[in-house]
């Protein structure tokens, strides 16, 4: 019985001591990447990022913080995916099939982020830089998710059509039909 208890103890200690610590490794290679994206629209967006830290039962008092931030979103079409089969010419008539517009990037300038309000109870510590950045990351993801709903991609496609038509008209290609895949 004693042996059994010793074995049980060792297994329990071993089980808790051998907890695997996983360090996230970013699979990102630093490099120069060539691209062929035609940016056709830029949206400037604003967002209020607010949070209240009052959901943990054993922490007495709460903390609140409020940021305002501004970001620019650029969208356009990827010209690198164009191939010969996407362009059909018939005399002066050209039918160009373009890929659908996509987000090129969202840029939130660090100095556009303003901490507007912060309130911390006496028994709590104030938000540190890491916590604040975590909240801003949530705000950033929120803006990225809104890309489909604010209509930027539709505007990008419309502008790309006008732009390419304008470029081709001096080449006596006035009969241009631009469609999206």
């Amino acid at each position: 019985m004693k042996q059994f208890i010793v074995v049980l103890l060792m297994v329990t200690i071993g089980f808790s001591a051998c907890k695997e610590k996983r360090i996230p490794i970013e699979d990102q290679i630093l490099k120069i990447k060539e691209m062929s994206q035609l940016g056709t629209v830029e949206y400037t967006v604003t967002k209020v990022i607010s949070a209240s830290d009052n959901q943990t039962w054993f922490k007495v008092g709460d903390r609140k913080i409020l940021f305002s931030c501004e970001g620019t979103i650029k969208a356009g079409i990827d010209l690198s995916s164009l191939s010969a089969k996407d362009i059909q010419t018939d005399g002066d008539k050209v039918t160009l099939t373009l890929p659908h517009a996509k987000l090129i990037y969202l840029n939130i300038e660090p100095n556009s982020i303003k901490e507007v309000y912060s309130s911390v109870s006496i028994l709590r510590s104030s938000f540190d830089v890491e916590e604040k950045n975590g909240l801003l990351v949530q705000g950033q993801k929120n803006i990225e998710k809104s890309v489909d709903s604010i209509g930027i991609l539709q505007d990008a496609e419309k502008n790309a059509k006008h732009l390419i038509e304008a470029w081709l008209s001096p080449l006596n290609l006035s009969n241009i039909n631009i469609i999206y895949k």
Partner: protein
């Protein structure tokens, strides 16, 4: 003796079962802080601008930036109050440090918004396009690109923003040193050549203004 042993074994089994329940997330640990989630607020569109920017190169980089400042800790403040009362010299402030690992992307390309009819010259099946010189369009450092490696003391939002802006400047400089403009020039030419060749022009010449 036997009853004590059976109680110990029973206690171990109970501990083991509770541990397994936590381990496999069957029940949540009540002593873990709940994550702070931001409120659901709308994204407002402030301005819409039509652009015509040909992005031809993106340079990815990662830099480490550090800021230092002298700040009194709570202990220092207490020591100073006591020191002032008994007439002793106040203790020096403590050095505070903030170390950020910042990933950034530098985009370079050509602003084609100024292209007009005069920018295109056509002769038989050859066209010449005059475009502006390539430039760095943007350096992007978003909150998700920033990792706080070390932090001691209190840092204001402006101090953190300044440090991130410093990182952006370094990333921009490194991109220039890595010949981003020259690469952008080459790639912009090849992109426009491919586009107009596909449309049916046998020869495309791209000139920079």
């Amino acid at each position: 003796m036997k009853s004590i042993l059976s109680k110990i074994v029973f206690a171990f089994i109970v501990v083991g079962v509770v541990y397994a329940l936590f381990k496999f997330n069957v029940i949540s640990n009540p002593f873990v802080s709940k994550p702070v989630v931001i409120d659901d607020t709308p994204v407002l569109v402030k301005e819409v601008k039509n652009i015509a920017e040909l992005f031809s190169v993106c340079f990815y980089d990662e830099v480490i930036v550090t800021a230092h400042k002298m700040e009194e800790s709570t202990t220092d403040k207490t020591t100073n109050v006591v020191g002032n009362l008994i007439g002793k010299k106040a203790k020096d402030s403590t050095q505070r440090e903030l170390v950020l690992i910042v990933k950034g992307r530098t985009y370079a390309g050509v602003d084609l918004a100024s292209l007009n009819d005069d920018s295109f010259a056509k002769k038989d099946s050859t066209i010449t396009i005059k475009i502006p010189q390539p430039k760095i369009i943007d350096v992007v450092v978003n909150p998700s690109d920033v990792t706080v490696f070390s932090e001691t003391g209190n840092w204001t939002n402006d101090e953190v923003s300044n440090l991130k802006m410093k990182a952006k400047d370094i990333i921009r400089e490194k991109a220039i040193k890595n010949a981003i403009i020259e690469k952008s020039k080459k790639k912009s030419v090849s992109t426009l050549e491919s586009l107009f060749t596909l449309i049916g022009k046998k020869k495309v010449i791209v000139d920079f203004q």
